[in-house]
């Protein structure tokens, strides 16, 4: 496959992109092989000695209840990554087709859809997510649904703007003059040409979704203890930072930061990759 070859050749030359993809790869491996990597059960106190500082047995230490922090961070990638990736994929698959339809047909239908997205985007994201999860109940599916609902308008808008500008380009006119159908013009001509900003945004958005999940869990509206999740782990350890036990908040915080950074760097690489002239 020519396309995949080019992708990897470009990735190797692009250091930030390479770092980003390695971080993502590590996160994915952690999620897939968590039971093999984590030395302890993530949901059970494994020692009487809680708040143990990092040492040779528990490299990231233990938390308030005596659970191994390293094991919990590894297991938490399952939850956080699943939410981040699934929510982003769902919002892409909802936002992009609607964006193309709205951009292509405009008119009253388009106006109505755009005002609805205005309505959704008018609320502060975090507060809206909190309310949605509070109403639906804090289960993983509901967090995914809430993030999807909040992110789909972003892609819709990006794709629509792109379609509006591409629609007037000459190759679309040429497609029309060659007698191609509306369906063909929308999904074979406009779609691939308007996907770029949405895909770049998507990579960054996986990071944001993880951040949002962690934020929700931090205030207690997301995943609940003892299920391992980075945000709830930070909140669990937050009280003891003042008394010097920094590790139970610090390591999950680093996990979030590194993962979000990884997706941001990868998104930046995608921006380069999708510019065909730079290949």
């Amino acid at each position: 496959m020519k396309g995949i070859n080019i992708f990897f050749r470009m990735l190797i030359k692009n250091l930030p992109g390479l770092i980003g993809s390695i971080i993502i790869l590590i996160a994915v491996i952690c999620a897939l092989f968590a039971p093999l990597i984590a030395p302890y059960d993530p949901e059970k106190p494994i020692t009487e000695d809680n708040r143990m500082p990092p040492n040779s047995q528990h490299i990231f230490g233990t938390d308030e209840i005596g659970m191994d922090i390293f094991s919990r961070i590894v297991y938490a990638t399952r939850i956080d990554l699943t939410i981040g990736v699934l929510a982003t994929l769902l919002s892409l698959s909802i936002g992009i087709p609607i964006g193309i339809l709205v951009g292509f047909y405009e008119g009253l239908f388009g106006e109505i859809v755009m005002r609805l997205t205005d309505l959704i985007q008018a609320f502060p994201v975090f507060i809206f997510a909190m309310v949605l999860v509070a109403v639906l109940g804090n289960k993983m599916e509901n967090i995914i649904a809430a993030i999807t609902f909040l992110n789909a308008p972003i892609y819709l808008r990006l794709v629509r703007t792109e379609v509006l500008s591409i629609k007037g380009r000459q190759f679309i006119e040429a497609a029309r003059c060659a007698g191609k159908s509306n369906y063909h013009i929308m999904f074979k001509e406009l779609l691939p040409n308007s996907l770029k900003p949405a895909l770049i945004q998507a990579s960054v958005n996986v990071g944001w979704a993880i951040l949002l999940t962690a934020g929700l869990s931090f205030i207690g509206a997301g995943i609940r203890v003892p299920t391992p999740e980075w945000g709830s782990m930070i909140s669990l350890g937050a009280d003891s930072i003042m008394t010097g036990q920094w590790w139970s908040s610090f390591f999950p915080g680093m996990a979030i930061m590194v993962t979000v950074l990884g997706f941001a760097l990868f998104g930046d690489f995608l921006r380069t990759y999708f510019n065909p002239e730079r290949r």
């Binding site: 006119e173 003059c177 060659a178 007698g179 191609k180 065909p276």
Partner: protein, 323 residues
Amino acid sequence: MTDTILNIKNLHIHFNVNNGSAKVLNGIDLSVKQGHLLGLVGESGSGKSVLAMSMLAYVREPGIIKKGEIFFDKKDILALTEEELQKKYRGKEIGLIAANARAHLNPLLPVGEQIANVYSAHTKKPKKEGRIKAVEILKSVGINDAERRAESYPHELSGGMAQRVMIAITLVNAPRFIVADDCTNGLDVTVAAQVMDLLLLILKERESSGIFITHDLGIVAQCCDEVAIMYSGQIFEQAPVKDFFNKPLHPYSDVLLDSLPERRKAKPEIDTIGNLPNPLQLPNGCLFHPRCPRAQELCLREKPKIRVISPGHTVKCHYPLEN
């Protein structure tokens, strides 16, 4: 062979813009005979490209067809629905070869695939067959190494090659009529000549007819069977090539020919200065009268009608030249 394949009658296209209605086409009357290539010549802004698009019954927004009829093979195509046009007419009966070929190609698809897409849009044949057909047609427009070139993206092609691909896309469904909108524009002279030769060869082989839109009277003299002179959205004169270059009838045709470098030596001053009339405020009477060296009082008042001077030679003027 002398059947008329395309006949445009009194076509008006206006563009409604903020400060009024721009009258871009003001009663086009034009006919092309089966098997002929008509050269359409006019200044920039005279409405050539709008006319080209209208032959595919495609008008850019915010343009509207005010009145007029376009008959292709005796069918009124403006009466067809958008769906009928897309399925049966555009690309299949009439093909457009656009100027600035690279802008008319999808930048993210290999050119072979684009040709295959156009092919399967009309034939409903599987994609595999389209690919084979794409390579075949690329070979026939003189592209070396067609298998490899079919995998190229538009930005990897040179201007001449992109233009050939454009021609290939148009030809893949073997349309009976080809509209070539300034397809030698921006190509250097040798490449332009190759593209022209190719186009002529293909027209001859397939017994297709066409319209060739250009600024270049030289190409018209060499390649076309007929000439039509366009000015401000009207056809001022239509004639067989020989008649036109030997004895132009319209004063505008005359000054146009005088502007050719060869003739300039004999007559260093060009009579007509100024620009095309503003399409938002067209003059009364003959559209050419503000620039016409022969304008008389009648030209200010009354629009001229088409006059047939000799078979196939028509002119829209009150006082045509007599040679």
